[in-house]
C-alpha cells in the first residue's frame, strides 16, 4: 500500500507562563492510502494537538519543536504558511469535534462551501456552486439545492457535521484528519456517519485519521489503532491485535473499563488515579503511578519494542500474550 502520511518523532509544545508543556512527545506513526488509523486517548493526551500539527495549525504559544511530518514524501514541518495553506482543505482536510461550532453562524452554507472550492480551484461561481451541491448530496443531505441557501442554525447537529464532512471531501483530499467528529452526536446519527465515512474513504482510497476517546467507535471503524497517553504514543498495531491482545497496561486498563467488558451488577472497573498534568511530568513512564506492573525500571524512560511488524509498545513490562 502506498504510504500517505508518515509522522516521525513529532514533538509539539506550548510555552505557558508556568513552563513549557510538551503536548505531543516523540510520536511516530504512518497511514496508508485507504487506511483508517484510530488515535485513542483521554482528554489532554495530545491526540488533538497531533491532528492540528499535521495541518500546521498550531498557533503560538505552541510550536512544533521537532520531528518530521512526511505527507506523500514531502516534509510539512517548517513549510511557509502560504505553501501550507495550499495543502489545507485541498490535500489534507480536517473535520472538527463540535459541529455546532465549526460552521460560521453568520454565513450561509453555500457561501462557506463555495469559498472552500474557490480557495484552491480557479473555477467560475456556477461550477463552484455545482460542486458544492454535489458534495452535499454525497454526504446524504436531502434536497441539497434548497439546503444550500440555509444558514447553519437551520440544520441539526448531525446535518451540520455532514456539511463539515462535505467541505472536507470537496477537493478529494488524500488525507482526512477527523477529530472526534461523532462525539457530539446521537448514537444513531453517529452510526450513520461512521458508516458513510468508512464507505467514502474506501471508495476514494483516502487515508483517514480518526481521533477519538471512544474505543468502541474505533474498534468498529479503524484498521489500525494508536493509543496515546500523556503526549506519548504508548501502543499501536492493528485493531484486532491491540484490542484482543493489549500489551501496554494502559490499553489493557482502557479496554477493561468499557462497560460492556464489565459484569452486570458489579462496580465498573476503572484505572486508579488520574491523568498526570503535562506540566510536571517526571522522567520515566508517565503511567507508572497508576500501573499495577510498575517497578524501579519504570523510573527510566520506557523502551519502545516492536514485537511484530506494525506493532509497537512503549513499556518496560509489556503484557506478553495480552489479556486484560
Amino acid at each position: 500500500m502506498a504510504e500517505t502520511l508518515r509522522v516521525e518523532n513529532l514533538r509539539t509544545s506550548f510555552l505557558t507562563k508556568w513552563g513549557e508543556v510538551t503536548a505531543v512527545d516523540d510520536v511516530s506513526f504512518s497511514v496508508d492510502a485507504g487506511e483508517i488509523l484510530g488515535i485513542v486517548g483521554e482528554s489532554g493526551s495530545g491526540k488533538t494537538v497531533t491532528g492540528f500539527s499535521i495541518l500546521g495549525l498550531i498557533d503560538p504559544p505552541g510550536r512544533i519543536k521537532g520531528g518530521r511530518i512526511l505527507f506523500q514524501d514531502e516534509d510539512l514541518v517548517g513549510l511557509p504558511e502560504n505553501r501550507m495553506r495550499e495543502y489545507r482543505g485541498k490535500r489534507i482536510a480536517m473535520v472538527f469535534q463540535d459541529p455546532m461550532m465549526t460552521l460560521n453562524p453568520v454565513l450561509r452554507i453555500d457561501t462557506q462551501l463555495i469559498e472552500s472550492v474557490l480557495a484552491h480551484d480557479k473555477v467560475d461561481r456556477v461550477t463552484a456552486r455545482q460542486r458544492a451541491r454535489d458534495a452535499l448530496g454525497q454526504v446524504g443531505i436531502p434536497s441539497p439545492d434548497e439546503r444550500l441557501a440555509s444558514y447553519p442554525h437551520q440544520f441539526s447537529g448531525g446535518m451540520r457535521q455532514r456539511v463539515a464532512i462535505a467541505m472536507a471531501l470537496l477537493h478529494r483530499p488524500a488525507l482526512i484528519v477527523a477529530d472526534e467528529p461523532t462525539t457530539a452526536l446521537d448514537v444513531t446519527i453517529q452510526g450513520q456517519i461512521l458508516f458513510e465515512v468508512q464507505k467514502l474513504c474506501k471508495e476514494s482510497r483516502t487515508a483517514l485519521i480518526w481521533i477519538s476517546h471512544d474505543l468502541s467507535v474505533v474498534a468498529g471503524l479503524a484498521d489500525r489503532v494508536a493509543v496515546m497517553y500523556a503526549g506519548k504514543l504508548v501502543e499501536q498495531g492493528s485493531v484486532d491485535d491491540v484490542l484482543d491482545r493489549p500489551m501496554h497496561p494502559y490499553t489493557s486498563g482502557l479496554i477493561g473499563s468499557l462497560p460492556s467488558n464489565n459484569i452486570r451488577g458489579q462496580p465498573l472497573r476503572q484505572i486508579p488515579g488520574m491523568t498526570p498534568s503535562l506540566l510536571n511530568l517526571s522522567a520515566g513512564c508517565a503511567f507508572r503511578t497508576r500501573c499495577p506492573r510498575a517497578d524501579a525500571a519504570c523510573l527510566e524512560s520506557p523502551p519502545v519494542s516492536v514485537p511484530a511488524s506494525g506493532r509497537e509498545v512503549r513499556c518496560a513490562h509489556p503484557l506478553v500474550g495480552g489479556g486484560s
Binding site: E81, R85, R88, A93, T102, P105, E115, S116
Partner: protein, 325 residues
Amino acid sequence: MIIYVARRLAQALLVVFAMTLIVFLGVNVIGSPVDILISPDCNQACYQASLKALGLDLPLHQQYLVFLKNAVTGDLGKSFAIGVPALPLIVERMPATLELALSAMFLAIVIGIPLGMWAGLKPDSVAGKTIMGGSILGFSLPTFWVGLMLIMVFAVYLGVLPSTGRGETVQVFGVRLSILTLDGLAHLILPAVNLALYKISLVIRLTRAGVRETITQDYVKFARARGLKARRVILVHVLKNIMIPVVTVVGLELGNVIAFSVVSETIFSWPGMGKLLIDSLRLLDRPVVVAYLMITVLMFVVINLIVDVLYTALDPRIRLQGAAI
C-alpha cells in the same frame, strides 16, 4: 417586520409623551423664565402682562394641556426668548450638527475598526500595544481640553486650519452644507476630529475585544483548516461576526453625538443644535428645550430601529418579531 416597526414607533410616542411631562415639570421647578426675560424696571402689571403673554399665568397642568393640544397639530410653541416658532429654529440648526456628527462617526468607523482589528490580531506587537495605549488617552482626555489643544496646534502655531465657524457652505436641496467646499471641509476637520477621538477609542476597544473573542472560535480555525486565505478569514469570517456589538454602539453613539455635541460645538463656535440647547437652557426657554428633546427622542428611536434592522442583515439567527420590547 412591519408590525415590529409600527410597535416600535408606538413605543416611541409613549416615550416622547413621558419626556414632555418630565421636561415640563423639570423646567418649572428650576424657575420662571419671566424672571430672566423681563427688564429690571418692570413693575407688577408689566410682570403679569409678560406672564400672560407667554401663557405662564395658567396653572401648570393647564399649560401642559394647551401644549399637548398644539403639539398634536405640529405646533410646539414659540421660543420665549426670541418669539419665533421653536421647531423651525431647531431644524434650521440641524444640518450643521448632523454634518459634524456624521463626519465624526465616519472617522470613528474608518479609523477605529482597522486599528481595533490590528490590535486584536496582534495583541503583543508594539503596534497593538501602542494602539491600545493611545485609545486610553482618547478615552480619558477631556474633550474640551483636546479641542483647545487642537486649536492651539493647528490654528495658532501651525496656522493650517481655521478654528471657528462653518466656513463656506453650499445649498443642496435647501440645506447648507460645509463638506462640499474646500473651505468648509477645512473648517470641519478640527471639530470632527475633536468629537471623533472618544468614539475612535471606543470602536477600537470594542473591535479588539470582538476579534480576540472570535479568533479563538472553532469556525475560524475550521476556515483556516479549509485552506482559506488569511485575508478572507479575517475580513469575512471574523469581521462579520464582530459587527453586531460595533453597530449597536456606533448607533447609540451617533444619537449621542447628534444630541449632545455641545462641548465641541461651543469650542469651535460650530452653529449647531448643541449650542442652541445650552443657550435655551440658560434662559429657561421651555418650548425650545421641549422641542429639542422631542426631536432627540425620535432620533434615538429611529437610529435604534435602523440598528435593529441591520442586526437581521448581520446575523441570520435574529428575526424581528412583532412582540418586541
